[in-house]
């Protein structure tokens, strides 16, 4: 009998597997990114391209686009694993499900959320957002997208046994994501008008701490019920 796998090693194995799977399907990886860029660049075309007006709408456009594009990728978080039975096998591996779900969520954010944060300066620059505010927006999105992945993992877990669940998933997740939208857009807004944005950023941080610690437990419980 060889030694049982530790929790940390299990997390690494799972994250590595999910990243590998993501890179085997590059088109799925690019979809949310393209969506984000397309939406943010369509606004200047449809509204007037005056720099002052662009600057006014920038917070809303950036955050709504980021929210929706992260939502697009959420369904894939647990669905494919539930469909081919690998989720069941993971549950039977004897590793704590909470840890596995947390690892899956982090891997999901790494390929779905982090790229958004990385290209957000480009979109913000196109909307005539000043340099300082670009940095604040990226900081806000860093916390915001990660929080959304954790909230989304609960939604994805709750709908794991449901066919065609994307609408249901959006209905579940969007209301919970509203605080992110409000505080995130507020942070960008404040930074654009040259004020201190730390207040809403702290609140985003608090939301991240809250969801990162509690969401995996809720998701694990929901997965267990969904697989029954």
């Amino acid at each position: 009998m060889s030694a049982r796998t530790g929790i940390l090693r299990a997390m690494l194995l799972l994250a590595e597997r999910d990243l590998r799977l993501a890179f085997r399907r590059p088109s799925q990886l690019c979809n949310p990114l393209v969506f984000f860029l397309v939406v943010t660049t369509l606004f200047p075309l449809s509204l007037s391209p005056q720099p002052s007006q662009l600057r006014d709408i920038a917070p809303g456009v950036l955050w709504v686009a980021a929210l929706l594009s992260s939502l697009l990728a959420l369904e894939a978080l647990l669905k494919s694993d539930a469909e081919d039975g690998t989720l069941e096998q993971m549950l039977l591996s004897g590793q704590p499900l909470v840890v596995l779900v947390a690892a899956k969520t982090l891997a999901h954010w790494f390929v779905g959320g982090l790229p958004l944060v990385v290209i957000s300066p480009l979109a913000a620059f196109a909307l005539n957002v000043p340099g300082d505010a670009i940095l604040v927006t990226a900081e806000g999105l860093l916390m915001g997208t990660l929080t959304l992945s954790f909230i989304g993992s609960v939604g994805a877990a709750l709908t794991v046994g449901v066919r065609r669940s994307s609408v249901l998933l959006s209905l579940l997740v969007l209301p919970l994501a509203m605080p992110l939208l409000i505080f995130g857009a507020r942070a960008t807004d404040l930074a654009i008008s040259g004020e201190v944005a730390s207040g809403p950023l702290y609140l985003l941080g608090a939301l991240l701490a809250f969801t990162a610690t509690l969401a995996p437990f809720a998701s694990a419980a929901a997965v267990r019920i969904g697989l029954e």
Binding site: M1, R17, R25
Partner: protein, 203 residues
């Protein structure tokens, strides 16, 4: 000893498991038989701990499975109807992940498991490209690597050719010979060399 007591389970309006009770001792194989839709898969999922019965209890070595939780899962190897493999990953990658989640496995161990099931050549192909029978063999290789004591197999012989079937029966015989338990749902007869097979008929 795996013991099931008075298992009751409804699926909606349907009473699927009606007061089922039995024991399986180490070195025994239980053949779960019965027509389609009589709850064979449901029973196996309850025995795995994936589903909870409404009444009754499954206990392993005298302790309820509910209390054991993850400790029980370590002892269970389940091969379900769908293979539980990722189509985009190769057979080797699938096995390294699935078995690695349970215990440390070396590439050599994976190689020998693949060789046991005579699919060594398929090791580096994505599972998507394999036939249904080959996929089943990969799932069985995962079972071998899992080092589980209790084997719970749902129709392990479907999609397998005659050589594959006798191979699986040989593995089952070996497993119970070495003190393991096996619960197998199958439509065909399970003839193990030199072993009595107990039969549980669901209706």
């Amino acid at each position: 000893m795996l013991r099931a007591e008075n298992l009751q389970l409804w699926r909606g309006e349907r009473h699927v498991l009606r007061g089922l009770g039995f024991e399986v001792a180490p070195g025994e194989l239980l053949h779960v038989a019965g027509p389609n839709g009589t709850g064979k898969t449901t029973l196996l999922r309850v025995l795995c701990g994936l589903a909870q019965p409404e009444e009754g209890e499954v206990s392993w070595r005298g302790v309820s499975v509910r209390t054991l939780g993850a400790e029980y899962f370590v002892d269970v190897g389940y091969v379900a109807h769908d293979s539980g493999l990722k189509g985009d990953l190769t057979a080797r990658e699938n096995l390294a992940f699935a078995a690695g989640l349970r215990c440390a496995v070396t590439p050599a161990q994976i190689d020998s498991a693949l060789a046991t099931l005579t699919i060594r050549d398929c090791g580096d192909l994505p599972v998507r490209a394999l036939s249904a029978g080959q996929r089943r063999r990969v799932a069985l290789a995962r079972l071998l690597l899992s080092q589980a004591t209790i084997w719970i197999l749902d129709e392990p012989l479907t999609n397998l050719d005659t050589a594959g079937s006798s191979l699986v029966l040989g593995l089952l015989a070996q497993h119970v010979q070495s003190g393991g338990l096996a619960l197998v749902a199958a439509h065909s007869e399970l003839a193990l060399a030199g072993r009595d097979v107990r039969r549980l008929e669901l209706s």
